[in-house]
């Protein structure tokens, strides 16, 4: 029987620490542990996808002038501005939910049900036709891909997954408020405007971090079999140092 570890962090961490904790969870997931982590970022942070060409895509001078915290994720996908959101991580053995696609759908189906508890009319996006956007193509929230959570045709949750050595980790952002225009602001050249929405826009009111974390945790406990334990976690200084290293952040 799976033992799920629930981690809820109402106090935010800097980008390098948040990614360091996720890296530590992935290591544990390879040893058969399962995690649901719900967290936030302090200060707000711009994250790049693992393989994004950030050096050419984003304007370092503008990023420095604005004093932004920046980190490169271990997962793929494109840039995200983490400010008004609930960030989730689900990690476990690679076989727990099946293949990459099955895992993606299982996690998003759960999140969609949790958001349904809050009265948000969400659905999973159909796969778009046409050319797929690569890691050089701008903001994560610029366009939904198949299986992602959308509301009124706009993306509400952006996610990315990594699978390595028998474990998987999927993390993503549930947007409480608008704000992805920041990615456009620091991007060189013309880019597509974010096709994102937020819980505030959909529900017409401010939605608290705690409302979302409680809904997601309740849905997970009801849906994902096993015993649940609420825990606190940390990561090693090496993990933080890796993600704080400009050589990693600006490697491409």
């Amino acid at each position: 029987m799976t033992t799920w570890h629930l981690i809820v962090e109402a106090t935010g961490c800097p980008g390098a620490e948040n990614m360091g904790i996720d890296a530590a969870l992935l290591r544990e997931a390879r040893r058969d542990a399962a995690f649901l982590r719900l967290y936030r970022w302090s200060p707000p942070c711009l994250s790049f996808g693992r393989n994004e060409p950030a050096r050419t895509r984003y304007d370092l001078a503008t990023i420095e002038r604005l004093g932004l915290d920046v980190v490169r994720r271990p997962t793929g996908g494109r840039a995200v501005w983490h400010e008004h959101e609930v960030t989730y991580t689900v990690a476990g053995p690679a076989t727990m939910f099946g293949s990459l696609k099955e895992t993606y759908i299982r996690v998003h189906t759960l999140l969609a049900a949790a958001l349904g508890r809050l009265g948000v009319p969400v659905e999973l996006a159909q796969r778009p036709s046409g050319r797929v956007l690569g890691p050089g193509s701008g903001a994560c929230f610029a366009a939904p891909v198949g299986g992602e959570i959308v509301a009124e045709g706009l993306k509400l949750v952006g996610s990315a997954q990594i699978r390595e050595r028998g474990g998987f980790l999927q993390h993503g952002s549930i947007l409480l408020e608008d704000g992805q225009n920041l990615v456009t602001r620091v991007t060189r050249g013309a880019v597509a405007a974010p096709a994102a929405t937020s819980l505030r826009r959909l529900l017409g009111r401010r939605v608290l971090f705690e409302e979302v974390t409680e809904a997601v945790a309740a849905e997970a406990r009801a849906t994902w079999a096993g015993s649940w334990r609420e825990v606190k976690v940390g990561c090693t200084t090496e993990d933080i140092a890796h993600f704080a290293d400009p050589e990693w952040t600006w490697r491409r």
Binding site: N51, P74, T75, G76, S99, L100, G134, A160, R163
Partner: protein, 129 residues
């Protein structure tokens, strides 16, 4: 149904080994089944020529839409060539996994390792086809 050519060797992690220039060199890539599972490939991170790997060492990573996965070397040996074409056009991995979408060419150290891999028949069974 996925394409599983008869004359190749396969790993359980969905890489193939295909004879190349001579008895000691082989092309390595991911199978048709794997590219179908991953979806549209957007980036492949490959090693440098001259890099050496043991059997089932990680030799690179592949990013498909929204997911990053490791690439495992089905046999040990030295990388003698990498397919630079997939850097500019990673979709080759989807369109022609056993042809233009190959990833690395290796000079293998121990041909006996090939016998530890799956045949086409075994691989089909492994993927349930």
């Amino acid at each position: 149904m996925s394409d599983v050519p008869e004359n190749l060797h396969y790993s359980e992690e969905h890489e193939y080994v295909k004879p190349a220039d001579d008895e000691a060199t082989y092309l390595i890539g991911i199978t048709d089944y794997a590219q179908g599972e991953l979806g549209d490939v957007v980036f492949v991170e490959l090693p440098d020529v001259g890099a050496k790997f043991g059997q089932m060492d990680v030799f690179g990573t592949i990013e498909a839409v929204k997911a990053v996965s490791e690439l495992f070397s089905p046999v040990g040996g030295e990388v003698v060539e990498v397919n630079e074409a997939i850097e500019g056009d990673p979709g080759l991995v989807n369109r022609d996994p056993y042809g233009d979408g190959w990833m690395i060419k290796m000079r293998i150290g121990n041909p006996g390792e090939l016998s530890r891999l799956l045949s086409a028949t075994d691989y089909k069974q492994h993927i349930g086809e």
